[in-house]
């Protein structure tokens, strides 16, 4: 596996920012995840790490850090990471989306702008796999890459004060799901009935960075059923292991 050059910058008193080349690429993401696995194998308590596209923020919760010593530790770990024994498991999740007009209030206008029928838009949106490049902005919000260029559309001129939880949107090169009610400027094309963040669960967010997502079109009746199943805790989104 190719390993990329990294740069390490100080980030306040207890964090460093590790950066890979500034590109959105699955192979860079794999390199970051390999590094994280290798670092976790060192079993140094107190560090937390979060990925976003080409960067990794490493925060030491227990104390202030010495930058030079931390940099040395990170570089050494990056050099040795090829020998990491961890076999990471990545999943492809199928998330149901109801594209009914009741939820997808912008779908007709969006399709028109893109020169598609709403049916074609749904077909394209559901026929691609999207890579999770990061989770942030809101708890459980996934930064997804891999949107076909035919679905790229600017943000709405005026953001909405309230976008409903579960809303599926398009904006620029991105598609995504609002994990909770939030103000937002994305073009809303549907709604996903699955909870992407549940603080009462042992694992509040089932998706991991590096997983993939595909969307599946469902009817209003199926949406309501999944919603109820979710509320009583018997709904599990469909998943397959990508790298078994």
């Amino acid at each position: 596996m190719k390993s990329y050059p990294i740069s390490i910058k100080p980030f306040g008193e207890r964090a460093v920012l590790v950066e890979w080349p500034m590109e959105v690429s699955e192979s860079i993401l794999a390199d970051i995840l390999d590094f994280m696995d290798a670092f976790k194998e060192l079993e140094i308590p107190g560090w937390e790490m979060s990925v976003a596209y080409n960067s990794l923020t490493m925060v030491y919760n227990q104390d202030h850090i010495d930058f030079e010593a931390t940099k040395k530790m990170v570089l050494e770990c990056h050099e040795k990471q090829a020998k990491s024994k961890t076999k990471r498991i990545q999943h492809l999740w199928t998330l149901p989306v109801c594209y009914d007009l009741e939820f997808g209030m912008d779908i007709e206008e969006t399709a028109k702008t893109l020169g598609l029928s709403p049916k074609e838009l749904i077909k394209q949106h559901t026929s691609h796999q999207y890579v999770v490049y990061g989770i942030g902005f809101l708890p459980g919000f996934m930064y997804l890459g891999g949107l076909p260029s035919t679905l790229e559309i600017p943000r709405r001129a005026e953001p909405r004060l309230k976008v409903q939880k579960g809303s599926v949107g398009l904006a620029g090169k991105q598609t995504g799901i609002y994990p909770q009610d939030s103000p937002g400027g994305w073009n809303i094309i549907g709604n996903c009935p699955v909870d992407l963040f549940d603080p009462n669960k042992k694992d509040p967010c089932f998706v991991r960075v590096g997983d993939k997502i595909r969307f599946e079109s469902i009817s209003m009746a199926e949406y309501k059923l999944h919603k109820i199943e979710g509320e009583v805790g018997i709904y599990e989104p469909e998943k397959v292991v990508l790298n078994a």
């Binding site: 100080p10 008193e13 207890r14 937390e48 596209y53 923020t57 942030g136 809101l138 994990p179």
Partner: protein, 279 residues
């Protein structure tokens, strides 16, 4: 139980924060002015992470339903216990039925009420800090009852200290942020010579500053942010992320506040002046 008769402007339960969940987008939360909270908990011989009430500008009216010991810290908001003034950083006994209320804001912006053994509200993801949607409510409203342990008899080792408050400090200490090198000489001069003021857009998520500096057209991939990260928008606005700030952002992170300066900024309100000093 502590009965919240009136909640005031913005009342929340906070400990020192919720760590270890940044990777799923959960901000740290926790008290804005950590320094004041640690001192109050220390006087009560609590764990420094024990939960306190964070009071913003306008204080609540609170009734104690069991005896315990309290200690106030942070902003001076003319607190009275049964109409008798009480001071910060003093361990005070409260009896069943006692009423703590607040008056005029004298100094600072956020006050704290610490209680012996801490408030015992629900812990989610290993913290009691209120942050929706981790906790069901984003703040405490009128009529809510907050649990705490009854303490009849307690002899504090130190019952009172004089603390030099940091409310008057205008200078915030900053480190270079990851995108510091993007700043032009002109922008650097503006940042380190100008006096800035806190805008109306200031809350637990972020403080925006009123004065703009020269803008930029740099675009970057979304990347990690921390409490104290100072972002520069293309229009030249400085946004300082605070404790409930999002974990990722797409604006250049030009500076990073020292942790002590986060506590200082937490006591600033709309219109207050500040300046930056690189350390």
């Amino acid at each position: 139980m502590l009965k919240v008769l009136k909640s005031g402007l913005y009342l929340t339960i906070q400990d020192l924060g919720r760590f270890g969940h940044r990777d799923i987008g959960v901000p740290i939360s926790g008290a804005m002015d950590v320094e004041s909270v640690k001192k109050a908990n220390l006087l009560l011989e609590n764990d420094e992470n024990d939960a306190v009430l964070e009071i913003t500008m306008t204080g609540p009216t609170l009734q104690f339903e069991e005896p315990s010991y309290i200690c106030l810290s942070g902003a001076h908001i003319s607190a009275t216990l049964n109409n008798e003034p009480i001071e910060n950083y003093k361990v005070v006994k409260v009896e069943k039925g006692d009423i703590l209320s607040y008056g005029r804001l004298e100094a600072g912006f956020r006050g704290y009420l610490a209680i012996k053994e801490g408030f015992q509200s629900e812990k989610l993801l290993n913290s009691r800090s209120q942050f929706y949607p981790v906790t069901k409510k984003s703040r405490v409203k009128d009529g809510v009852e907050i649990p705490y342990n009854k303490t009849e008899d307690y002899q504090p080792k130190i019952s009172e200290v004089k603390i030099e408050e940091h409310f008057d400090r205008k200078t915030l200490h900053v480190y270079k942020g990851p995108e510091f090198s993007l700043l032009s000489d002109g922008q650097l001069t503006e940042i380190f010579t100008k006096h800035f003021t806190v805008s109306k857009e200031n809350n637990r998520m972020a403080y925006q500053l009123s004065e703009l500096i020269a803008g930029h057209s740099h675009s970057m991939l979304t990347s990690g942010t921390l409490p104290g990260t100072i972002q520069l928008t293309p229009a030249g606005r400085l946004i300082i992320l605070m404790k409930d700030g999002q974990t990722t952002g797409g604006y250049p992170r030009i500076l990073q506040l020292s942790e002590e300066s986060i506590s200082i900024l937490a006591q600033k309100k709309y219109g207050d002046e500040l300046k930056f000093k690189l350390v």
